[in-house]
Amino acid sequence: MTPDEVRPLLKVEGLSKSYGGRVGCAAVSFDLYPGEVMGIVGESGSGKSTLLNCLAGHLPPDAGAVMFDTRADGMRDTVTMSEPERRMLGRTDWAFVHQHARDGLRMNVSAGGNVGERLMAVGARHYGDIRGQAIDWLGRVEIAADRIDDRPHQFSGGMQQRLQIARNLVTGPRLVFMDEPTGGLDVSVQARLLDLMRGLVREMGLSAVIVTHDLAVVRLLAHRLMVMKDGYVVETGLTDQVLDDPQHAYTQLLVSSVLQV
């Protein structure tokens, strides 16, 4: 795959964000191709979440460009794009899965309403169709159809996270941002969620940027890996290559710190 044949879906150039004198993330550049999953790992405070929020348009970066291959006009810089356009992207071609499901869900709205919100936001006005799609998506994330009118707080943590994924994917996005999607879940639930996400990514041909500190998650999901430390990218490469043969001292430390069971 060369850039001549396939255009990147997302092209990040020199993205920097600092909080006063402190560096959030600095001079991050990478390309993400359609169908590719990029993992970003690093310890707490290494700038992973800052980077993800800058990419998704939740935080304005200080410098740099986030070029996205839009359906209508080709490559556009989402940083300089107008707010309505960015919001439109945020509910059509982009999806954002939060670490805590309650940040990404409306807890006082039923599961069906949660899944239907993005559809209604882009103009769906037929109740039967919206409900039909909501039931279909609940099924895809293994939530029983008879739970459609229950509120998210009646769901377990794993179900909430799966509901959040359904709510995000219902409009058929092309790019998904995930912030620690398996954080705070017990291992068996994590395993099922990872299995589900791997299936959905493959089935829908999604591109994804996954931020996590869990190396097992990126080993399973990510094709490529970026290792961050103190706001800088210290190592990039194919996931297996980086994890099996880490070059940078910090990556070596990270890989050797994983508990072997």
């Binding site: 919001r87 709205v109 936001a121 006005r125 409900r131």
Partner: protein, 290 residues
Amino acid sequence: MSDYNFAYLDEQTKRMIRRAILKGLAIPGYQVPFASREMPMPYGWGTGGVQLSAAVMTGDDIFKVIDQGADDTTNAVSIRRFFERTAGVATTQATREATVIQTRHRIPEAALSEDQILVYQVPIPEPLRFLEPSEVETRKMHALEDYGLMHVKLYEDISAHGAISTAYAYPVRVEGRYVMDPSPIPKFDNPKLSMAAIQLFGAGREQRIYALPPYTDVVSLDFEDHPFEASKADHPCALCGASDSYLDELIVDDAGTRMFMCSDTDYCGTRRAKGHVGTAPTPPRQEETT
């Protein structure tokens, strides 16, 4: 009279409110912030409406106040007396004679004309408030026409009750742009929002004014397969026999006997004066004593 400036408010305040009204009329459905004054009545009793009435009123105006359609309820009587005392304007109970009508929670049954102004008292002007608590966020949503959330509310209604159960303060879209709370009028009144008269909405505590110019396009939000329906109690008025008016339900004895009657007292009285009768020709005792 000399104790007060005409219509209670000082002239500078009236100018400030008129500027907000003009802006509101220029951008139909947009909530214009204004410096709401303390009025000699508690918030929730129509302080926004009273300030609007005071700002548009002239000495020649004929003033009418209704509360839930009735001219003779406490709130209506006290606001009417307030302007009789502070402005010395003529007042009336007849909808057709009035030039300024202040209303709480109803639109009069009789069609209004171009030389009339209808002033609404609004408790919560923000239609998105119960879905999104942050004012910063709701203003952004209005600015960006980000109204998906409004339909989530209607979706929740249908999924819980099988139909859109919102019966009052039913959200509308104005001229295809702003989503607006029409104040807590019954949804029966929503189709009347496109009318010949100027409509002004005032929320005193929330410090917002918004407006609908004459003949503005106002559409009630709905779903294709659950269209908007202007519902009312399925009865004729027991006093005047009208079947096209919005009805109050009254329990008249200890056995729970119900009686349905027009909520618009002027409309009902006018019909009875013309000789229309319903099933219960004499009004209930509560009315006789007033």
